[in-house]
Assembly symmetry: D2
Homo-oligomer: 509 residues x 4
């Protein structure tokens, strides 16, 4: 886009309407594949966020009172629209995120999985019912939505994370405020149209674009009952501590340093193929991307590195508009520079550059934010590139002497999102599964992300709070329960006061 006047000014989406920003603050939205600005997004003031929250609060009671069956009916229509508009949505995603079409499609399908989980809400929302717990009392639990809940989403999954974090919230009866990443607001605004078309009442799904100012209002506003966040670990920690300081429920998902343990008995060809896609897909900009290989045994390490080297040299980096591209650019120029700094630093700390992707060929003819696949070996746990999450295609190989050493290295790491192992040994897999201190674990699986109907969530500093994305536990995060003890005495029965603490055993039956 070269002509200034074509640049679109985006809006918020409040009470079912596109609403222009009034703060006069904006952020530029880029097409990372070309390096061009494609739109500007308004950054909401505290007052704008407050207003959106207020309208969501007003919409909430009617939605809460709507039966779960009717709510799920909206989800079914929304799902159908996601299927029908898939191609259009892929283009929206690719343009502002730079990912490949195939990758964007994977993200949408995965997002639909979270809608499917939300469609199971009638089952997940059931409380428990006990007959005559003593004294002819029946006891049961009744679940309610929380009210207005907020979600702060990252740039790397413009559609999947918003869906994964809000579908269940909507299904169980809450009103949702989404603050998308200012890098990828167009996808979020597109979803608004689908919700509206699906029949979701105005005010139940709101998009407020913004930056830290908007986030802080969401964190502090007393009408917000729960906050979900997906992003980097330092921000996740800030969100958790600030949200809980305001007595909210918080589920804050941070970064990962996800290792693939390669055992000597693994099929190295298969394992290397698994590594490639899991490590470099989406230019490694996934919290579940494989960050590096922990290879057991010197010989295995050497052979594995060699196989990787050959395969990596054939990968193709480029824009989503081209065929057969393996991955695209990173999200911003700044991000590219950060990743290069990590590579430079690793080399200066003694790592060996097996493949150097700092100046990919595609950059000769494009201003896109491209980086080629980079592989370093001779990496040690003391190096920064081992300790920190690198959100770009610089991956590492670390040699270890034993499975135990691999497990210990991972358990000592402050992050604990995902981990996987390639092996043919049942005993090795069992030891690994049991001892590893990581939330999502794979065995002979490239990316250990669980299927949508199991809980997603890391351990240690990869997740703060008890909530989950995907999975049945999400219904729990977005609801609260009353426990009701009900008795219907005969009018004529004699009673006496009991001053002792009541228990089951007081009753005659």
């Amino acid at each position: 886009m070269t002509v200034q006047q074509e640049m679109k000014t985006l809006t918020h989406f409040i009470k079912g309407e596109e609403v222009a920003g009034t703060s006069n603050r904006f952020s530029e939205v880029y097409n990372p594949s070309t390096g061009e600005v494609i739109a500007r997004v308004p950054l909401a003031s505290r007052a704008e966020v407050k207003h959106a929250i207020q309208l969501a609060k007003e919409a909430f009671p009617a939605w809460k009172k709507t039966s779960i069956g009717k709510r799920v009916e909206v989800l079914h229509r929304f799902r159908q629209l996601l299927v029908e508009r898939q191609e259009e949505l892929i283009n929206v995603i690719c343009q502002e995120s730079g990912k490949t079409k195939e990758d964007a499609k994977g993200e949408i399908v995965r997002g639909i999985e979270s809608v499917d989980m939300a469609i199971s809400a009638p089952q997940l929302l059931k409380g428990e019912y006990s007959v005559n717990v003593g004294g002819n009392i029946n006891a049961f639990s009744a679940k309610s939505p929380l009210g207005v809940v907020a979600t702060i989403a990252p740039f790397n999954f413009p559609v999947m994370v918003p869906l994964a974090i809000t579908s269940m919230a909507v299904a169980v009866g809450n009103a949702v405020i989404l603050k998308p990443s200012e890098r990828v607001p167009i996808s979020a605004l597109y979803l608004c149209q689908l919700w509206k078309e699906a029949g979701l009442p105005d005010g139940i799904w709101t998009v407020v674009n913004g930056d830290k100012e908007a986030v802080d209002e969401l964190l502090e506003n007393k009408e917000i009952q729960a906050i979900s966040f997906v992003g980097s670990t330092p921000v996740a920690e800030y969100i958790y501590q600030t949200g809980t300081k305001h007595n909210k429920r918080v589920a804050a998902f941070g970064g990962g340093k996800n290792f693939m343990i390669v055992m000597p008995d693994a099929n190295l060809e298969q394992t290397a193929n698994a590594f490639l896609g899991a490590a470099y897909g989406a230019a490694s900009q996934r919290c579940m991307a494989i960050s590096g290989a922990l290879v057991v045994g010197k010989d295995t390490e050497q052979r594995f590195t060699e196989i990787l080297k050959n395969k990596i040299s054939e990968l193709k980096v480029g824009p989503y508009t081209e065929q057969d591209v393996d991955f695209g650019p990173v999200i911003t120029k700044q991000s590219k520079e950060t990743i290069i700094r990590y590579i430079d630093g690793a080399v200066s700390e003694g790592a060996n550059l097996v493949i150097d992707g700092r100046n990919p060929k595609v950059c000769e003819s494009s201003n896109g934010f491209y980086l080629g696949p980079t592989l370093l070996n001779h990496v040690t746990p003391e190096m920064t590139i081992f300790k920190e999450e690198v959100f770009g295609p610089a991956r590492i190989v670390v040699g270890v002497d034993s499975l135990q050493e691999a497990i210990d290295l991972i358990n000592d790491h402050e992050l604990g999102n995902g981990v996987t192992m390639f092996t043919s040994s049942g005993a090795a897999a069992r030891k690994f599964q049991e001892e590893i201190e990581v939330g999502m674990v794979g065995v002979n699986v490239p990316i250990p992300i669980p299927v949508g109907y199991h809980n997603f969530g890391g351990w240690k500093r990869s997740k703060f709070g008890e909530g989950h994305m995907f999975g049945p536990d999400q219904a729990r995060f977005f609801t609260k329960a009353k426990t009701i003890s009900e008795r219907w005495p005969d009018e004529t029965e004699d009673t006496a006061s009991s001053f002792a603490f009541p228990s089951n055993n007081d009753a005659k039956n």
Copy 2:
């Protein structure tokens, strides 16, 4: 106890041993029924707490590795000891808390209910298992204990709360540090002996006596994975905010202002009997005590107050050593003074003193911290006595014009622990159950505390955090889950790298 040298100096209980305090700071333990000091309890320094935590941490891995069956075996023996030693334990409780024997027994029975819930841990600890979620992957979740967890308990249930908060934690494989109230440490130390006798390994159940210094170490020490607290709302909020600031799981249970709605169609005689025990039992020192009646209709209010007045005047206050006592003293002299200040304040704000218990007869011959049952009417929502929890036998009657008004008053209150209603109308009960913003709800039940196998927990400022006491959800609070995706490929299968985000739909089946 009149002879000075009889005063016992208590200890901590660390790694299976009574350990003398080394901080040289002590607190006096009273017999509230006589006003005499019966022991002094050491107040742990930060170093002592750190040491106890370290030993618990060392004991944890072996207990975690012990199968759930063997762990529950210990719980069974512990339960049996609680049954066998009940009489002895009742005396311990009564002496330091002042409650009646019948009430102490009720507390123990209720505590056993929480042990029973813990005995169901093999069922509650089960993860989920899915066959072939795509690509021949099996996905499942495996639950683990957290590590060292801490509990800070209040004075009013010297045995029940420690059991309610720790039994499940122990059963699912954690090491527990209990800091009991410095008012009632003897009961907690008694429980230590039972755990030891039941065969619990040393270090898994620790008692550290102390005050804010100990609490702050527990809140800040990075080895503590989770904190449970039961006490007043301001402290609960402090615990929640401080614990979460250190990224811990926290469940902090605060105070209640638990109303009984009395409908015109209720049997007033039955209702008044229910009110008496629920409101004045244990000298009203229960977070689930009924704080007052919201009576619907002028006439009903008048009649209900009259019936209460007559019944209250027959209540007997005195020491647990006497027969037929309805309730005993409050916990301390300071507590007594606070309660009197609430009554004085209410009168000065315009409330009417129906029954004045500020100078009970029993005080003529005893130095115990007694207060008689007090009833105020003409109380309005603006008065302090309506707004705040009063932890002693001063209860109120508030007249309202309609069920809707009663519900609104309760929903506007900042606390939301328990509530109950007496009525014969199914429609009134349904409206009440649905609209009331309170966590534990009763219908024609004096105290709306759920039976032990349902979740206990209030709403609003009565509970901070998502955890529960009692109930199946406690198992969840004290565990974390890994989600495992497992695949066992045929050695000969062809593979290719996939750079798209993985979803169920990628796989051939």
Copy 3:
């Protein structure tokens, strides 16, 4: 239809194709609203059924191996087609069953509810996973489909029952053989097209048209793993006893005699409105139709009968093609005659005919199988019309002296499908819910049919076998589970033989 050559000859649907019958036996399909024959349906021979089963058996393994996610994908598309083709399907239903369009729509919506339950299969299919149950063994359960399962459906819900009974069976991985009622085969064949269009593999949903010969082959064929049946109680019993004699799983749903208890404190106007729709809707041809009112108290009975009389006289009976018709014809001429015999018999046994619907006005101008709404009072428990299910619009009023008497009468009845009560008393509702020996219970609800995500099923002779239609338990009926105990020993560990019976306590941990 008067021109002979227009009559359509229907087919079976086997392995994804319409297959002509080869037995040379046929049954006529009527339009009950006009009395005309609209098609003839082939009646399968044993050999034809065997063949269909064989093809289903061959299709099963691939469907079983298909991941649950991909299977549910088909269900989503099928659901969408049901929504899109609703109008067309309504016409198919009305033409062969005679029900009104509004009623047909209700049936479809309800059928979709059962598809929705099936869409929750990924959640419902989860087994349980326990870590280290002793000796480092992990124990878990893995669920599998059964294989080929058969469903025998009744005429009264041409679409809902087939969906309710087969959707979950399909979702969890079985191959289904449906034998629809020979009265309404066109609807079943229409569903075949939707399944095919949705992408269900050939052979997974089969329709075999037929009569007792086909049924007996399904009951006896050893490849059929489970049988579901919906119909009258005598046939349900036959199906249960014959199916279990061949060691199959059987869930056989029979008839109902579903009473509405009317309490003196009920709003009689509201109650009568509820009675009308619930009792006469669909010409009373529903196993959940209200069969009669048990009215408590002489005066109430009199007033209630009076109100009913006035309201019933305004009901409109006629063909679905007309506007504002309350209900249509019964299914066959024989059925009409049977119902008239019940009315005649009741009168001869002493019942009083409040409203006589034996010769409805509509019959003057139509050959349709119409009956008007009939109401009898002065009915006693000894009369045949009290004891037996009448599948047509002859309903009764029975006076009783107390709630207890009403409960006793119902509990003594051999059928126990549904029951409902109208009252404003919480105590009456509680007593009723607890004491009544009936599977589906309503309070102030016209028809006590549970919502689709709760289990449907009667007690006593209204259901044989443990299975359910609708509800989460259906997933259980259509699957079996393996329990797996898995251990991965260290190669070097010492072992010894244990000759004692193994238990959790043998292991060191």
Copy 4:
């Protein structure tokens, strides 16, 4: 026992009392270790069984009304008595069953596991509760006990099976009639005393001793709601078909032919140790005993047989009164003869006798019913000893060429109780777990019996009916559920009749 007059005449246990038999039919009870008669047990007439059922029926309503908490209280005391009287109970078991003390202890511990599961009944008995499923209706399910249920137990676990089959039945509120094996009635009568001492009300646990006459009364009596049976497959099938013919719930557990697959990569020493205990323990008289080894690969087969031969020759057979006995006699002389016939037959069909136990040394000095451990190889699937369950210490080795062949042989067998595999390969274990058509599966586990809190039950002709022993599903077998739809309308609301079929979507919300 040599003195005639010492022989004890046993009784029934009806309504809490020992009741002498009146049929004048008796069966002799042996001590299989000595061959002597130790008691005679009365065989009940139909009239006696009817009487016992009637008294159980009368006891049922009060027990049903007893709260689950109080019922479980009895279970806790019963469990404690089982722990305290363990030594005494071991002697009772050993004397009449011939098993070793260590084995009897294992059986008791396992029985206690089933009591523990029953103690979890408050959790397992919970129904589901849904708020506002449409039209302001709340829908929920309430579970009830069935009434009088019967259990028919085998000789091989005189204590465990009765506990496993009745504890949950009692806990959830049923009245139980146990017909123990006439070979081992003394253990069952001993349990009666413990139940009584634990406080179980009279009539809730009844023992009727008898033979087929008693069984047939239980199967046909209409007051019996459910039947559990454990025994041989032909009888299990008879029980299932006869019980279901009388419309009862039936869970009938039959025999097993449980193979151990030995993979070439297994540690053969460890595997052989596992085989020995699992195959010969309790003289192989367990439905979960390993019947034989399917060894993959010629060489492995040879080596494994050699190792087994050496180890088996060191096994010690003898009476439970001696030290270090590996297993004892079989249950009767007839049983011994049957087993010998199986061995003779196998030899005549071409099997090779590796170890011949037909004339064990212990028989030289004892009249006990001893058989030594027998091993046959060169066994083929066509031989009777492969096809049928042999309830005694004659075990087989079958060589196969591949895992696939082993799986196919097992899947083609008509029995499908248990199976296990020894391997170090994750891929082999996965294939095995997925493809094997057997209900209880082990990997590197000697006997694949699941732990008590998972479901126990075989597939194919090893189990008839959907019920389970042990495990959470047992609670389901012994209860039925009502689904309740409750609505509390405002008195003033307008209503109209709806003649369409009701669905969630009719309601305004």
